[in-house]
Symmetry: C2
Subunit: 475 residues, 2 copies
Amino acid sequence: MSSSLVQACVAVVGPSNVLVDAADKQAFEQDVWGRYCGKAALVARPSTAEEVSKIVLIAAEHGASVVPQGGNTGLVAGGIPDETGRQIVLSLSRMNRIRQVEPRGDFVIAEAGVVLADLQRAAEQVDRSFPLSLGAEGSCQVGGNIATNAGGLNVLRYGMTRGLILGLEVVLADGTIWNGLRSVRKDNTGYDLKEIFVGSEGTLGIITAASLRLLPPQRDRQTVWLAVASAEAAIDLFAAFRSHFGDLISSFELIHSNGVELAVEHLEGCRRPVSDRHLWHVLIELAWALPTGLREQTEAFLAQLFEDGICEDGTIAESETQRLNMWRIREGQSEAARKIGVVIRNDVAVSIERLPGLLHAMEKWTKAQDSDILFMPFGHVGDGNLHCNCLVSPDAVEEIEPRLLEALYDEVTKLRGSISAEHGIGRLKSNSMAKRKSEVELRLARSIKQLLDPSSILNPGVIFEAREREPAASS
Amino acid sequence: MSSSLVQACVAVVGPSNVLVDAADKQAFEQDVWGRYCGKAALVARPSTAEEVSKIVLIAAEHGASVVPQGGNTGLVAGGIPDETGRQIVLSLSRMNRIRQVEPRGDFVIAEAGVVLADLQRAAEQVDRSFPLSLGAEGSCQVGGNIATNAGGLNVLRYGMTRGLILGLEVVLADGTIWNGLRSVRKDNTGYDLKEIFVGSEGTLGIITAASLRLLPPQRDRQTVWLAVASAEAAIDLFAAFRSHFGDLISSFELIHSNGVELAVEHLEGCRRPVSDRHLWHVLIELAWALPTGLREQTEAFLAQLFEDGICEDGTIAESETQRLNMWRIREGQSEAARKIGVVIRNDVAVSIERLPGLLHAMEKWTKAQDSDILFMPFGHVGDGNLHCNCLVSPDAVEEIEPRLLEALYDEVTKLRGSISAEHGIGRLKSNSMAKRKSEVELRLARSIKQLLDPSSILNPGVIFEAREREPAASS
């Protein structure tokens, strides 16, 4: 690392916001899952878009590159520096102001470093809701959510993060600050530039603030647990719920019996919501803004389902405790599994009607292996999003994981699905993506990268394999 | 027009699908509103993406350019050739197959030339709904809807066309066919390329087919007409409805008294839904997929509104006849106005809470003019989208229209709104846009155009001012 690089950064953000000591940098150099560890030249912590711009220009002058980082909760190492020790980690954490909350206009303007849970709370204070919700919401940041087009628990109803964005403020590779912080809902004046930056994982620009939609809160919610005999039956059940309740469905989660039994056995106080064992379970949440009336509608529909023999067993949560128990199974099954082995995780999507085919193919694959593999898939049925997770013994994981992911990604590609439904590409999946995308798509994507970041200053090595870059003459 | 160009096109699509006679070309050279008229070298009507690709390559070889055209219902002359007589109109009308309808996967794959109403019907046949709905749905085509990111009547609930797209098939400027016809709902594998083509008005690629979301149909619908004293009160009313009904609101239309009275006076059988005159009227539609229950919820809420004195007068439609009468006022006010003068139309958007300010500013402007101007604005409140229309005498329109639009666009720009909320830019608004967009945005947009269409083959003169182009050596 060059001392002129450090000095230049210190001149912009002050000495306390340039971290150079190994101990200070460490938390920014590895992901919270401990799966990837890089090495940074330094960590810079700007507090304004102007400071971000200056750091980007300094990086360019010194032949360095910039790795934007939010709450560092990503799953594909998209916010972690490479191993060269020449990259600048640009932490957006100090840009954590909520600039405006406008309940009548139904929008909020937040800086990139605002923690998602803080944004949710700011919305609640004006009787509105910001519907993006995911496991890491207590530490992930809005800028990272946008840069990765985060999904989460409410995609079926509200879409991915992309659909919640009204405007962006972005620092470009040449240091230009683009102020696109509109709060208008309809704007067909030429190309919609913000769409280019959403989900680009910091490789096309650095998002410093966003104007985001607010929604009315849901006041009446019903949580239902149902058991069915097959994945096909679960898809039929989704179609039946979808026809009857339309867009009132907030969640429709499919869970394999193996995951349910692991949770019930290993998580304290966790109980199976239905008395008997069944091969597949479904967790459904219905909600609306009206204060009452949904319970009656739910009960009447379930009575009809049981009368028609469409599902085997099931119940409506009678209390918040029962509701939380249902979600504890869904969310805690991986935690339970880790008590007896290692979970191989993944995140794929296919068109909804193809989910059973994918599940059968992968179950067959696991059974054909020599090792013991416990198949414990779960997914968001309405999104076609499946986590085809498998529990294996610690000594088998290294051998099985790459083969399982290859088999899964090949199967998904055959079904014209996605090998990364919501987690993104980052550093970990760039090879897997490059192998499976069409030449046309790869060429288009690379040309956009080349257009917006010709000197490869912004997060090189993420999405695409890193290119070697000559150090600039001045460094 | 060169005969070699005609011959080359005939070799691709056959003689009956290359129109060269003036009488045959005429319908493709002017918009249905008779406001813009160009001149085409020829009209080519391909029936496959491969044929589209070949026509694009032929255009390139002959130094010609291509104007993609759908149902020709656009309002900004984005699908009309310029006056040089050197452009090829590429009509997508023969690409009108619905390739797949998948109710369990909730998607449909349709070619660009499918008429919107036909797509809606195909969805209805499998108990699903394609929610894009607009006045021209009987003749506009899906490809045009996507290329212009069409809005319409259901934006508040379902968003613009952009939000309904799962995948695209696009012919690029170099003739490459990009098959991005995915039907997966979540895909974070790198840049979302389809977003670049949506709303690009045929200037970046030619959309030949799309994979589109289907939704469950709404089975219970309540239509409400309310009268309020001010635009501010209408915004408050929207906030109250939004808080109570959340995303169950499908439409929330604001109509000025002038438009209501014109409709009631000049449209046969049209009656004002409330007995007294009021300054502002609101037309609200609530809907859900459930078969019953919405009437009770609506009545209870209205009773509370009247008790609290939040609105002055109002009624729920008791029959389909009453409902259609309400919509006839909303949709027919311009038709009524045209019986006694000329309507100056426009299509702007601001953040919702800024709507009253914009309305006051524009009413003040109309009153300050020497001519008689009847202010008859209406809009989609929930979208912040306003048509600040004005009725003037035929001999005054030429003098007033450009000044009114300038004043309106300046006011909207001051409020950080959009000068074209849903109609697009086309040929008619490129100057107005260029004057008001920031230098950064214009530069970014032009660089994307340059990247994807370096030889300016795709719809030059639309969105951006046309550049002069040298004829290719081979022509």
